[in-house]
Symmetry: D2
Subunit: 363 residues, 4 copies
């Protein structure tokens, strides 16, 4: 039961990269919301392969079909099942993975855990699995649009390999992020990032980087201590994505070099509300949102599957070498942007429903 | 239901810093394990206040009582309830918090979420809550000692404020960590850390830092894709602790500056097993342990409660100033060491039971 | 994790009949509700031993202590831990159960499952465990008093052995039930029931019977298809109680002898609401409450522990005989009344919170 | 999240009777098991409409497609998604249900709960939903065949309306049950049952009845006190099925008329094992299987949808009359047999995995 997540807005994803398809079942959606396949398709198009010349050329339209839970254009409150067929599967390109484990990929660990794996592509560990997450994220966003109108979730690529950018979380816009293929709103940096990715691909190599995300307009009071703190659920959501190695919120790792007096966010009354003067907390205090912008960063390692020759071993325990064929992203970050946003919508939606259930009755 | 965690080895903690006490109910422990109050007390003593001159002087023996689930020195397989009474409560030291919110503490967000809070001490957000976690961690360790003998979990303070240390995760020992009050096994660095903490206290200020942890001897195959990946559950566990702002595993944030070819951990046969030549993965690939050392780091911000005067607001929406009294740790990291270890035992135990349930039947 | 129940209003009970005590942790209570130990004690007194001459003479005051989650008389929204110490434990009365399994009791199956059991009394299978349920039921009732004022839950003993009663669920009152020791509101039947129970006790035997329960004032819309239908959760709650063998709702088993046309509850407008003319559905249709009275019945077998000599076997696999000593209820039904009511409050509260979370937003 | 069930062997069903289809996602299946669409189809054929002249004539082949989780004929340990398209949907036959609520059906309560419903057919409350359960049951049975070979689950129709049968649970065989259209292994009774069902249909009416089920070969030790007792989970599973009104295990309701001495199952050594002389417990004691046959009965009310004219009200609150068109089962019991069996496989599988996780380590 490890392919489902969420307490009240609960999703269950399924599917391998090579097989009948991938999808998701969403259980716990509010009834009466408008929902169409077009709504979902728009976000799937942001994550699909082949969308630009810096991502994998795998040809997948990733057309979604809503199989249940919607009637005459509105949600029923019953489970919403969404299906995307696999189309451009080329298992022959993975023949060598049948026996040899790709270094730093999930081939070996899946074999160790299950004693069997779908070696055609990444199987269950493929990023295709995130299609279900992105589809569900659209539905979560619809729920929040009703419960807490005004929440914005914006993620962007803030570093590729060693190419840094400069972006202000308080003002960055979704349109600026979509303005280029690498999804970095700093246009000058974006150009260098794109060049760096192309260089990696022509080297038969890959690069990683840093993704940053801001949530604006989140009300105070979301997050469930002590175990389901908002930052804990965000961290889990991010570390559940392929290729992630780290998460930090607000001042993060750097903030640990300040003293308490330097680091604390003083409170002040502003606009009739309790506000913080600074935001080193990153919008969360004691595991609960405080109404300020939620800001966090996620580390993505370089793609494991590369064309360069690497040392490895076979399933039979022989040392060997491997140079991957197949179609791979030389850098996962541009396509990770809509995925990270989807995970944030899912976490916020679940927490908003939990708070709706258990918040005090207005007296 | 946010004060319980774990799928199979499930714990529910309860308690405020000022009230009847704190404790935990552990549901899902294997039967027939030897368990005594002394086993648990040993770990509680590692986290209790007043244990050295760099931690809070609050006087709490933190004596635990096992109320159920154990019969004639052995676990019954039924819920194990553990109680620790609060003793040295001094609510009068918190009188000013009844009205003023401590900056960067949970006072404001608890009020925003629940509309009520126990302002005597940290209430539910107090680190006293972690007593239940530490007690449960002892039981988890006992389960693992039976299922996977040989697992070691060792955490240490690797940086305090800007005082760095040099420690090798492959060889660091528990006894070296317990050799000084700050729990840093680099003795020279430890001295400087202790000095830095004392300086912060005499300034009425506080410091944060970095905690590192290694798991040695973990078998390959633990971790449950896609949502309950091992690193995802570790990240959530760490970010559920008070004062944490970041988590990274293996190469973490720095690793994102390497290319795939530089970063990938080549496989080789060694000692008859599939091993990695390097360990940038940090012991986890595709969300599943690969049998190498699991290595991760956690960022702890400086303690929010400080004696220096700070700007803040009252519950009634008035700007004011606050200088905390009460007894606080000028640096939470030394006492966080056993807490982090406990959370790791809990996560590993839960995953070991899950794998025990769903692993292939040996043919 | 089988000692916790509820999705949003989640309780975890713990404790054996002979040991430190029994109790419960309640996680998910609304904040700001008035709650005192006296509130809880009142219900515990309804289930405690020694309350009349037809129940076990075990002397237990069953005094409860609220350890957390309440501050200045109001709930905090944090876990509420409640403890009741065991007092009148007499393990020596159970010495023969150390080796011999009581017929139709849980001795053998606990041993088979766990390989160990607390043979002093019923251990975890003792009805003392239900103390935690009754305490939690009081809190659930408080939540519902705020969310859906006007709900009444009334259970009563409708048959003891072969002594039937005549009671109208639509009008039966709590005070009529408390008017006699057997908790049957039909006074004439109650007298015969009491006589029958005393006869059983003097025979060294025991009797079972039927318990009936009505919920009045429940709003339409509670219950969560397809698996967590309201009647499904009620059935599970009832069959989780010691000694229960059956559950039926509305027309139940007898109703299966009618045709659809005879059985269906016609709808009509009445008092401006959609009402049913009859109530064979028992207040639930399609797994969701319809606003009519919820009426169900629970079968309780005769107490397994009796003084008469019985054939059995020892833990070592020898045939033997056993005549129980110890203090036992010759009939569990009178004390089961508050326990059944508590379980209903728990189920309704959980469903009310679930509906609060996921009901449509008013437009 | 009410359309998923199971702790370790977790299924999530989805789908309405009129819409894209119905299906299930199974999460938690052991890896390396042989599984094919043909395995599943065999059971779906037992529950599909149009299989005989006493069930609904709706024409549905109910062809299943496995979309994920299986590779080269074996399970991967990843989620198994199964899809069945809806084919013979005739929404026009339900036009009058758009406005009028069918008595004793879920129309009114779905409207009350969600404020919207798919009125074309039963929507989510349709028995078509159980297709996912039956498909998942096949997979559960495969897991148990590996963990506990020898378990048999056999259900049959034991009464239709007032036509009783005589069947011995200890010896009844699956083939005897499949020998006639009504699935009653008492051939003479079966004939009368079939006649009674045809009579009901020609009257435009419907009938209910009693279904009985036996589990043979179940090991002792399954069931998880205190809340997830085996009989509690069976009761919930049964009451989650459409049209069920009651559940009883072993001696059930009738057993409550015996004294303890009459009712208790004496233990004896037999065949080297601890056995009971009688089986009034129905194979479960204290919530845990005792190794004897598990025997229980389920009450199914007569089908709500009938052709006879009935009083009802409209969604607008007007009194009206309704005579259902559409294609309905005049008696749900024959098709309920494979559904009940599937639910039992699901419950047993989940409990077997839970016991596998938490049973004592063999010393």
């Amino acid at each position: 039961m490890s392919s489902s997540t969420g307490q009240l807005f609960r999703i269950a994803t399924w599917g391998e990269s090579h097989g009948g398809g991938v999808g998701v079942v969403i259980d716990g959606c509010l009834p009466q919301l408008e929902l169409s396949e077009a709504d979902i398709q728009a976000e799937l198009d942001r994550r699909r392969p082949g969308q630009s010349d810096i991502v994998t050329p795998r040809k997948e339209a990733d057309r979604c079909e809503i199989l249940s839970g919607v009637f005459q254009g509105r949600t029923l409150g019953t489970p919403i099942a969404i299906l995307v067929r696999n189309e451009d599967a080329r298992p022959e390109a993975y023949r060598e993975m049948e026996t040899a484990f790709r270094p730093s990929h999930a081939d070996f660990t899946y074999q160790a855990k299950y004693g069997i794996r779908n070696w055609q592509g990444g199987g269950r560990s493929s990023a295709r699995e995130t299609i279900g997450r992105v589809a569900a994220g659209v539905v979560a966003r619809k729920v929040l649009a009703v419960l807490h109108p005004g929440i914005e979730v914006v993620a962007w690529v803030s570093r590729v390999h060693q190419v840094e950018s400069s972006v202000d979380p308080a003002t960055v816009s979704a349109s600026a992020i979509e303005a280029n293929a690498v999804r970095c709103p700093d246009a000058a940096a974006a150009e260098r990032m794109i060049a760096r990715i192309k260089e990696a691909r022509s080297d038969g190599d890959s690069v990683g980087g840093l993704l940053e995300c801001v949530v604006r307009g989140c009300p105070a009071g979301l997050g469930e201590p002590v175990f389901d703190k908002l930052e804990a659920d965000l961290a889990k959501a991010m570390l559940s994505l392929p290729a992630t190695k780290g998460f930090e919120i607000g001042s993060g790792f750097e903030g640990t070099k300040l003293t308490g007096h330097e680091h604390n966010d003083a409170f002040e009354m502003r606009g009739g509300r309790t506000r913080t003067v600074t935001n080193r907390s990153g919008g969360v205090q004691g595991g609960i949102s405080n109404g300020e912008d939620i800001v966090f960063r996620v580390a993505f390692k370089p793609t494991a599957t590369i064309a360069k020759v690497q040392r490895t071993v076979t399933a039979d325990g022989e040392n060997t070498e491997l140079a991957a064929r197949g179609r791979h992203d030389p850098c996962v970050l541009p396509r990770a942007v809509p995925i990270v946003e989807a995970m944030v919508w899912l976490v916020l939606c679940d927490h908003a429903l939990r708070q709706r259930a258990q918040g005090a009755v207005a007296s």
